[in-house]
């Protein structure tokens, strides 16, 4: 991506993040390649902690038919990524709805379920989810490491965008994300209804899509892949539905990335 605007205190994109996007692009290309390219199935992607928007926008450029939603707890990030979407994309899909949308909401609150009552909110508009895949570069620095960061980072970048929370392992935000993954990637009821009236081909592709796996790709601290793997492999009931698939190394040879699989809880649609 060129000509992206950056603004303090939003994080400068790191090279490792480029590698994350590369990985996602390769996987997605392989998956979409199965459809032969004529009828591209709808593709909704979520960028958690979008910051300047580079992850979501790079994907939007690679996959012109994709719809991207970016969320961030910082209002500045939402503004910035929306501006960048304008610059990079001309931000319109065929139906004139914006292809890239940035929302000001932290991952923990990006839900339609009331945390305490476990019932759907009635007071506000429900969020539209139905994401096929989730990509995140969440804050992941361990609190103990924060003070040893270089002045370049400490003095100019938002600490909230860096520090992975209060827990010593720095995985708080990651945990919040993982908890929401099943909800985010559940197929949409409305889309189901729409597909009913569509022609045969679209319905087939949609059905195929529902059965296809949803993945979550994250960039994390080099201590995290191992921790995440042992955590998820221990099948904690609360997080059932999310499995560890694999980790990846960055070009410096450090464990940097994880790929998680969200098994859908929805029953398959009748054909």
């Amino acid at each position: 991506l060129e000509n992206i605007q950056l603004r303090a205190p939003i994080l400068c994109p790191r090279p490792e993040t480029e590698e994350l996007v590369d990985w996602v692009v390769q996987d997605l290309r392989r998956e979409l390649g199965r459809y032969g390219g004529e009828e591209q199935p709808p593709l909704r992607l979520l960028d958690v902690g979008c910051g300047s928007g580079v992850i979501g926008l790079s994907l939007a450029k690679e996959f012109p038919h994709a719809e991207i939603v970016g969320i961030d707890s910082s209002e500045i990030a939402v503004e910035l990524s929306t501006e960048n979407a304008q610059l990079v994309l001309n931000n319109k899909s065929e139906s004139n709805a914006p292809r890239y949308q940035a929302l000001h909401v932290p991952a923990s609150h990006y839900t339609n379920v009331d945390a305490h009552a476990h019932t759907p909110h009635t007071s506000k508009e429900p969020y539209r989810f139905g994401f096929h895949h989730v990509i995140a570069n969440p804050p992941y620095i361990l609190p103990s490491d924060m003070k040893s960061l270089s002045p370049d980072v400490l003095n100019h970048e938002d600490h909230n965008a860096l520090c992975g929370g209060v827990s010593a392992d720095g995985l708080d935000i990651v945990r919040e994300i993982v908890a929401r993954l099943p909800e985010w990637t559940a197929s949409e009821p409305q889309a189901d209804a729409d597909a009913d009236t569509g022609d045969g081909i679209a319905a087939d592709i949609y059905t195929a899509r529902v059965h296809a796996n949803s993945y979550c790709y994250m960039e994390v601290d080099d201590s995290h892949p191992a921790l995440i793997q042992s955590w998820l492999d221990g099948t904690d009931e609360e997080f059932s539905g999310v499995q560890f698939v694999e980790s990846g190394k960055d070009l410096s040879g450090r464990d940097r990335f994880v790929k998680l699989l969200i098994a859908h809880k929805n029953p398959p649609r009748p054909a």
């Binding site: 400068c12 290309r29 940097r256």
Partner: protein, 502 residues
Amino acid sequence: PFDLINHDITFIKLKALMSARYFSSKATVARSISSKIIHKNEIFCNVRSKASDFFTIPKSPNICFRDYHASHLLPSASISDDKKYSVISNDDILGVSFNTSSLPTSALKRISQTHERHKLILHKLQSDEKNAEQLGKELSSLSQVASLYGNLLSLNEEITSLIELAFDAAESKDHRFAEECEEEIAALQSKIPSIEESLIDSILPKDENDAPVVGCLIEIRSASGGDESSLFANTLFDSYSRTAKLMGFSVEIMDLNETEIGGVREVILSVTSGNGGYNSDSSGLDIKQFGPYGYFKYESGVHRVQRVPVNDVRIQTSTASVAVLPQSSVNSQNSAIPPSDLKIEVMRSSGAGGQHVNTTESAVRITHIPTKISASIQDERSQHKNKAKAMKLIETRVLAFYKEEEDRALGETKRGLMGGGTRSERIRTYNYPQDRISDHRCKQTMHGIDSLLMGSAETGLVWTFAPHLRKLHRDELIKDMEGDKIENDNDESGKGRKKRKK
């Protein structure tokens, strides 16, 4: 009239008649000889290597290449220096076939074989052959040669029937008619050279990398001469990038290593064919048919400059080296090199990396493990981009390396321009005091260094020398083909031939 049979002729040197003036004077002599050869179809001579008698014989369809019976040479036979005839033996018959054109024998042999094959395929296809599709493809690849050769043959037939008319006219003393015929013959004969040129072109091996889609990497490095050399490298860099853009190509700088005084230590350019077409109204070598590689390929080698440096009074000689490599149009997703053969290193500060660090040192070095070829790029601020560039460089270099090895393994020591030139060969001298550029390969000298360097795509440096270099290359290829033929005839199997044809 000369009675051939009764002479022990030790050598016949035949000259293909190209002009009408041989006609009227020797017509009678020629005719009697030719009729002897045709009608009696008997022996002609013992061939030995010394010349003793000369005859000139007009072209005649009855004594032409089509009557060539492929066979081996008699041990006592030899081929004349100008290769205009060869001695054939077909068991009982020892005859002489005349090469009726100026085409080299080997070329003509190959052309006529192609023509035969073409006819054969046509015949097969008509009778509903099983491999129709494959044969069809072969047919279309042969069709150009076959049709050109067909043109040549029918032209020859026309000429020779006119020759016979002229003979008859001369004999019946109708000199005016004979003259008219001769004029007509001359006119027809003047068409032959261009057909023959096209024929040769159609059977010479073509460089598939000349095609418009094939881009190239141009690497310019300063060599000997310190500062002067780097300034000259910069001059070449400017000239080539300017020319490339004027040709409508896209130029991307992969890597640039400059000196403080404005010189260039090393620069790597990626030149790809752009979408813009190039409109050329020049005749001759069609500039449009070449892509970036085809256009720049003869620039590979060492360029030597002789001039007075800015801070001195004496002439200094320095050199810069240029390498032009074809770029495959394969994109990085489908790299021809297995990723496991590559070692990718990133030059970054030690420490935790990732979000911990926000300085963007993103130099990438890729090493191809089997060949130890490496490429490193640190130009862009994006590691991703640097990696992509380094990959392109590695691919190009590794593929070129393997191709060279392949060629060497086949025992093809390509000389001259056919081999693409060795990189350490000094190909050109730029002499500023005398304002001239001399190319040592085609031995051409052009004047006006500045206008050549800053010229347009057609008047500039590259294209001014290109026609000469291409002709040189073509001549080498023809000679090579000749050399093949002799080897082939001496060597029973045809394997050497098959390997070379790609």
